[in-house]
Amino acid sequence: MLNKICHLEELAIKIRKNIVTMLLEAGSGHPAGAIGMAEVFAALYFEVMNIDPHKPDDPNRDRLVLSAGHMVPVWYATLAERGYFDEKLLWKLRKFDSPLQGHPVLASIPGIENTSGSLGQGLSQAIGMALAAIIDQKDYRVYCITGDGELQEGQIWEAAMLAPKYNLANLAWIIDRNRIQLSGNTEELMPLEQLRAKLEAFNWNVMEINGHDIEEIVSACNMARNVTQRPSAIIANTTPGKGIDFMENKYEWHGKSFNKTEAKKALAELSTLSNRISKV
């Protein structure tokens, strides 16, 4: 397992580097959240989820729904790394006629499972997939990733009420708790705490983890799998821009890209990070 963890940590760093290059090439985008979620995506696609990149439409596959669509660079970078499509496509992010739009669009490229961009819709989409599994008596699992600022959308709470009502134990909702959004820090802009208590009051099985610790991510997803009758919410505490000193915890990096100097600095810093992210 230790080797596996080291391997996934390395992968997460590679995903980060690709995100930096993708955004530099694109000239716009949302780097902080995407970079902060590299471990979660690496863990899901290389350890947790039952998927086969050669059978992206397998009806029994696990599904990932990305609700916070602006985080999509980390999804694209992970899918390419996992072999869903050619890495070269990453450098066309946000370009005219590229299948990699600035926010995810279903069926635009193998592996993308939903359309999002208008925040707050993904948890409901994931619920629909989880309900379909129950109706069809299939045992695939559905993972949904939202941001934390996104939880300001009312639809999230409509969905949060419904999933426990239907005992959706096949649903795991991972919240990227990075405490920033476009215009500021979430707790100043719109306080979300006590988030754990709120979700528990809605009857979710709630876990709180370090979203950069591969072992914690994998173990939380495994624990969610063993819960019956209730959906699980995993609050993944992350550092936006993790691994790039000048970005970390700065909301200003939620929605702007790098210039060449910044990208160079970021890539250099990421090159010295090996095996240090979760343990620093």
Partner: protein
């Protein structure tokens, strides 16, 4: 002999009950279960009935998720709430999901003035415009109970999002079980050569009553599918009559008459048309008949408009 009167919402309920044996059909309700007549489906197929509570946004996106796993979900509510409270979800989660859009059917009752006693907030007069503007969306506004039954069944066969606009009011049955219905087709109800009258939805019953009051050579064409519009039949009729009047229980902006105008412009038909509908106004409380009269959409007012052409 008294003509049979039934509501199109009953058509929805009866049709879904019959189609419910199809294991892919899932019905979602945002509390208004009996009101939209899916209570019988809910009783008979409880495993494929999802009660979202009063949460139209959640309902629309859940349906998208279901359809991505090969279910055929129907989201049901009143037209004043769905599609309006959940327009963003219909646009993003449904219409933008895949090449044809997600295979979700949006069935909304109480459209037009059929919920008139509840007042202006409950009167859906903008829903055609809201749905018509969306790429991938098909818009159907059946003219009576029997046509609704067929429209629902055709919507199930069609792969892609469909908006089905329905009414609460019991209105005259114009078609029968034997009549044909296809998405995208218009139906000539009366042949004539002097004026083309185009109508959509249950207001068609008022137009038929208006025609009985007139001694005019009218060609009456029912247009249950507003999008895509059957340009061929409409143009053929217009080339014969040279005069057009449209009737709808909806705002004039962006509605059925607008769709006809746009189509004529596309085909470079240089003519003005007369459009009957609601002209940039909200309604008030009253009976269905009160509101039709207020907005000159009752049979007598329609007859006067046709006479003046």
């Amino acid at each position: 002999m008294e003509i049979e009167k039934k509501s199109t919402r009953d058509g929805l309920g009866d049709s879904l009950l019959e189609l419910g044996e199809n294991p892919d059909i899932v019905v979602l309700s945002a509390d208004l279960t009996e009101s939209v007549r899916v209570d019988k489906f809910a009783k008979k197929f409880p495993n494929r009935f999802i009660q979202t509570g009063i949460a139209e946004q959640n309902m629309a996106s859940i349906a998208a998720g279901l359809s991505l796993c090969n279910k055929i979900p129907f989201i049901t509510s009143h037209a004043a709430f769905s599609p309006s409270r959940n327009w963003d979800q219909i646009r993003v989660s449904i219409c933008m999901s895949g090449e044809n859009g997600a295979n979700v059917k949006i069935a909304s009752t109480h459209s037009g003035f059929s919920n008139a006693p509840d007042g202006q907030t409950a009167e859906a007069l903008e829903d055609i415009a809201l749905m018509r503007v969306l790429p991938k969306m098909t818009v159907i506004s059946p003219i009576d109970y029997y046509q609704t039954i067929k429209a629902v069944s055709e919507a199930v066969k069609y792969k892609g999002p469909v908006y089905i606009r329905l009414s609460k009011t019991d209105t005259e049955c114009i078609t029968s079980e034997k009549d044909d219905f296809q998405i995208g087709k218009t139906y000539v109800l009366r042949k004539g050569s002097a004026i083309t009258v185009l109508c959509t939805g249950v207001i068609t019953a008022e137009v038929l009553k208006a025609m009985e009051m007139l001694d005019k050579d009218i060609e009456l064409i029912a247009c249950p599918t507003i999008k895509p519009l059957d340009a061929e039949t409409i143009l053929k009729s217009i080339s014969k009559t040279g005069k057009v009047l449209t009737v709808e229980e909806h705002q004039l902006s962006g509605g059925f008459g607008s769709a006809v105008l746009e189509m004529l412009n596309e085909h470079k038909v240089p003519m003005t048309i007369t459009r009957l509908g609601v002209n940039d106004a909200f309604g008030v409380s009253g009976s269905y008949e009160d509101l039709l009269q207020k907005f000159c959409l009752d049979s007598k007012s329609i007859a006067e408009k046709i006479k003046a052409l």
